[in-house]
Symmetry: C3
Subunit: 199 residues, 3 copies
Amino acid sequence: MSLLYAIELFGVAVFAMAGAIEAARNRFDLFGVLVLAFVSALGGGTLRDLLLDRSPLSWIADTRLAYVALGSGFAMFLLAKFVRIPFRALLYADAVGLAAFTVSGTLIAMNQSMPGLVAVLMGMASGIFGGVIRDIMANEIPLIFRRDVYATASLSGALWIYWSQMFGLNDTASLTSGFILVVLVRFAAIRWQLSLPGF
Amino acid sequence: MSLLYAIELFGVAVFAMAGAIEAARNRFDLFGVLVLAFVSALGGGTLRDLLLDRSPLSWIADTRLAYVALGSGFAMFLLAKFVRIPFRALLYADAVGLAAFTVSGTLIAMNQSMPGLVAVLMGMASGIFGGVIRDIMANEIPLIFRRDVYATASLSGALWIYWSQMFGLNDTASLTSGFILVVLVRFAAIRWQLSLPGF
Amino acid sequence: MSLLYAIELFGVAVFAMAGAIEAARNRFDLFGVLVLAFVSALGGGTLRDLLLDRSPLSWIADTRLAYVALGSGFAMFLLAKFVRIPFRALLYADAVGLAAFTVSGTLIAMNQSMPGLVAVLMGMASGIFGGVIRDIMANEIPLIFRRDVYATASLSGALWIYWSQMFGLNDTASLTSGFILVVLVRFAAIRWQLSLPGF
């Protein structure tokens, strides 16, 4: 199993859990939880595959991704029945998923010889879109628009993957360091409430 | 005209009416009504076709579907000018559309030799997505997330189509019974306010 | 540079600014502004390309479109830091973008030999969708559904492009007059609060 695939699978699992947490907070029923887990976990990758005209979609070509999304969402549903999941848990799970999809999305676009800007945007779209669609479906203002460093974390990871690949770093070192970079930036932003200039 | 096509056309008509009812309830103008009717009626099939990489889209290949959507939406607009349409009518029309698209979506995916999980998910996506996008555009929490059996109805129909086809039932019997199954489950859920375990 | 391309580029710029204005009104941070600018500016064209199965997407094939979207959004972010942008400015910028994408979308679909209904719908989808997704992401009821002539303006332009092309008008005359038509209808609707029959 390649590192790229492992990261994708890991991102699916944590985003599914983040979706289930948000669904639980909104008191959705079991299927609402599974739908939100599925859409959060696979929405970003689906958008990336549609935009890059990759066919079949990753979770159609490899249904393991879909099973992991549903399984993780169901596990979180059971957990949330017995334990109150704090909002902070949603933020951290979302950060880890953001990191995973940002780095995998950027590398996948580069493997298709996309220009730098497109590769970076695909990394960001893969990382961000699942959470955006999750928040829209739960009728909340998406996390990305709240005033803390969010898209910036994704952007930094996508740029890092792009440059490190350009300079010939191998995939393992590039993906690992990019993943850690996004997680650190985002965790720091949550912990110290960093924010970009706004209005 | 094949039964599959007839069911698809029927689903388009009732989902267009459901969209127009919701638009009327939100006091949209004539074009808002037509847009919501169109998106509700053809959104699920469009998503299915995009995800399965079917090209051209069903309503581009066969514009009759688009005309039926617009015509049904317009008819409901006229009706709603003179008669107060109760919320219950929206629920029942939505249930019938859900049934139609669930069974047609599942069969279409199976005809493309998709694995079982993907066929079931495509049936559910076709059935559910039109209503979800309708509710999001009207800025309401999607019906699917309210605490009554909704996705479960779609799931039961998709599973039924999948298994009955696997066991060699012919299309007519399989589609008809699957359609009736979804309608019955959903009507019962509305009538007796059945709900799944939640929080 | 063809007129069609110039109009597309112009539409990208004004829709990006409209997106940035709405983001500023909602006090998004810098990246929220850029994301909303990007999605508003390129969302309509992306939907059109996905629905017509055009690959690669216009802004992937030609990254200048993406740079223009981001640059225009950033310029408006700087401006909005120092000047209070009135809601009316959003309405007018939106109207110009609507006109640009309606005419370019219709002509692009006709160049792919789509039937008349599909060409008109593609023009409308290209023109309307960017603004709809912008409003949904900012958690507002889309402009299109407010009770003033909106989709009608887009429809009139799309029909005009279709008929004028059918009757052999050259692209320059057809695009220019169609663009002016949409802008005039929409400006008139804003100025005198014209509305269609509703409820």
